[in-house]
């Protein structure tokens, strides 16, 4: 078993590390200042400018296949890059990304949705969650009924990431009530100007998702992505594409946070001694380091399974669950080590504290990951210790 990165992996990772240091980290004070004034940390233009700078060096579409102008780097590499990006809270991501299910479109849909999403001209959003259907996604009620050759969509979606900025959505609607999720849900590609509305939702994080409202939104039959009735499978495919990437980003954040804690422990004196001398503090640092290491290997292992074309669902759920739980414990300890300062907005710790909390909720809550992991074991789809083959 070889745990070393190969030369390419190391060099590509170091490239991103340098980019983050030189281009991203210096923006942190300004990003904090803006966010505190209720403005977005980066404007859309600033994000795009940074993305173009990375693109000039060929860093664009990390996961996007090469025939679509991307780098096609694969899951392990992408996980490494995400964790480097996670070292800063500046909301930067590489350009050139498109949702995996858009690649299932026909030629016309690819032209209209996939390619402009990759190039950054269009912004997508993925809409399945509804006020009455979150974890239980099969309970969605948004409906699409046929009217001549058109479809008429009615319903409400909620907590949709990028829903405020998106100019089209991949929306999931019931097209056959009898069949439900098993053949009765269809995915539609719907432009904003076809009539859906969005409403921002304030959250404890620095950016908010949106509620989307569909009131008799009429769409042509060409809007169906994939096949009528096969939408639920597409939704699962979308959610399954990158579960390992969410905790991957958290690895970088946790590394940075624990570095801050170490620095604090080395310099803060209480009762005549450095915090670093206190076992209570040492143990917090030690536990955090152990958990970051464990998380790193869980994430890389899940990503490796993706690259091998193996069924990675169990490994991904494990990494997502562990990452969500541990990242939150770690940021909490780091805040604790900083005492009152940790609670202030002078430092970015509280910001990370709020941001990392989301990791336990979206793309499958902790409880849903546990449910999946346990069910896979109880039904014999996965074995204990069985993910290494």
């Amino acid at each position: 078993m070889d745990f070393t990165l190969d030369e390419d992996q190391r060099e590509i990772r170091d490239w991103v590390r340098t980019f983050v240091r030189r281009e991203i980290t210096p923006l942190e004070p300004e990003v904090l200042r803006r966010e505190r004034n209720g403005r977005p940390g980066l404007t859309r233009d600033e994000l795009r400018e940074l993305q173009l700078k990375a693109k000039e060096a060929g860093f664009f579409g990390v996961l996007t296949p090469q025939e679509y102008g991307g780098m096609g780097l694969g899951a392990v590499m992408t996980a490494l890059l995400e964790s480097e990006l996670g070292r800063s809270f500046v909301p930067f991501r590489f350009g050139g990304y498109a949702d995996n299910i858009l690649f299932h479109g026909n030629e016309e849909q690819k032209e209209r949705y996939l390619l402009p999403t990759i190039s950054g001209e269009r912004i997508s959003c993925f809409a399945i969650t509804e006020p009455g259907a979150g974890s239980d996604a099969k309970a969605i009620r948004t409906s699409a009924r046929q009217d001549g050759s058109d479809w008429i969509i009615n319903g409400e979606k909620t907590f949709i990431t990028q829903g405020n900025d998106a100019d089209f959505t991949m929306v999931f609607a019931v097209t056959d009530k009898e069949k439900g999720a098993d053949g009765g849900v269809t995915c539609f590609l719907v432009d904003r100007d076809m009539g859906w509305k969005s409403e921002p939702i304030d959250t404890m994080g620095e950016w908010g998702p949106a509620a989307l409202v569909f009131e008799d939104v009429r769409v042509p039959k060409e809007s169906v992505l994939g096949e009528v009735g096969k939408g639920f499978q597409l939704a699962m495919q979308w959610i399954g594409q990158g579960r390992y990437l969410l905790p991957a980003r958290a690895i970088g954040s946790c590394e940075r946070l624990v570095e801050m804690a170490i620095e604090q422990a080395r310099t803060r004196v209480t009762f005549g001694e450095l915090l670093a001398e206190r076992q209570a503090i040492q143990w917090m640092i030690a536990d955090s380091a152990v958990e970051i290491e464990a998380l790193r290997w869980l994430v890389l292992h899940a990503a490796w399974q993706v690259d091998q074309g193996m069924d990675s669902r169990q490994a991904q759920s494990i990494a997502k669950l562990y990452g969500g739980v541990k990242a939150n414990e770690i940021v909490d300890r780091v805040l604790q080590i900083h005492g009152g300062m940790g609670y202030t907005r002078e430092l970015p710790i509280e910001r990370w504290y709020r941001e990392l909390r989301l990791l336990r909720i979206y793309e499958g809550t902790d409880e849903i990951q546990r449910r999946t992991i346990a069910r896979n074991l109880l039904k014999g789809h996965a074995k204990i210790g069985g993910s290494l083959v």
Binding site: D8, I12, D14, W15, G58, F59
Partner: protein, 260 residues
Amino acid sequence: MNIVVLVKQVPDTWSERKLTDADHTLDRESADAVLDEINERAVEEALKLQEAHGGEVTVLAMGPDRATEAIRKALSMGADKAIHVSDAALHGSDVLATAKVLAKAIGTVEGVDLVIAGNEATDGRAGAIPAILAELLGLPQVTQVRKVEIDGTTVKAERETEEGVAFLEATLPAVVSVTEKINEPRYPSFKGIMAAKKKKVDTLSVADLGLDPAEVGLTGAWSSVLEAAPKPPRSAGQRVEDDGNGGAQIAEYLVGQKLI
């Protein structure tokens, strides 16, 4: 226009740097190692000159096996080939020995028009290699420059020091060292990273260069370090409350320190 760029792998200035207990040399294992930023600028300048005048860019590094990473980075940026002088005997070499080795290694490259180096490395900070090297090679030295131009067989440069700016000219071949004002180094491109591993890297030993191992390394060094201690932490300093005579108090303090 054949250019040799000197590059050095140094401990990342972002990580903690320390000396070894055994021989007070730099502890290269304890810190992340990177291509020195000043060398990125040197490579950038070489690539720009190459873009304008053609020719080949060779990077030259002396350092342990691990220095291949710094070499690869320079190749990823676009340099054509590399020479890596790596030998256990080189451990602890001083600036004179280092310059000797580099001079020999430059001798293995045919038709060198220009040698470009950073003005000083972020670890050793001696800042003497380019000058010594020029002396050993018998070439003009154009050091600490913030701007370089090639005009036929002449190199024109702006040298910036604390005294001011000097406009220098020398006939090629010459040795040039650059400061951080020279340019903004490019990021290696993804294609460049992929292409780098196919580029030629010659690894040479001290013997390959026709040097005696006793001339280099700790044994060949003209000075030896007997002891090293970390810098003592800064003391709290003295606070002057200004009750109307603050200026006088500060002046008194400075006189006491023999500063004025």
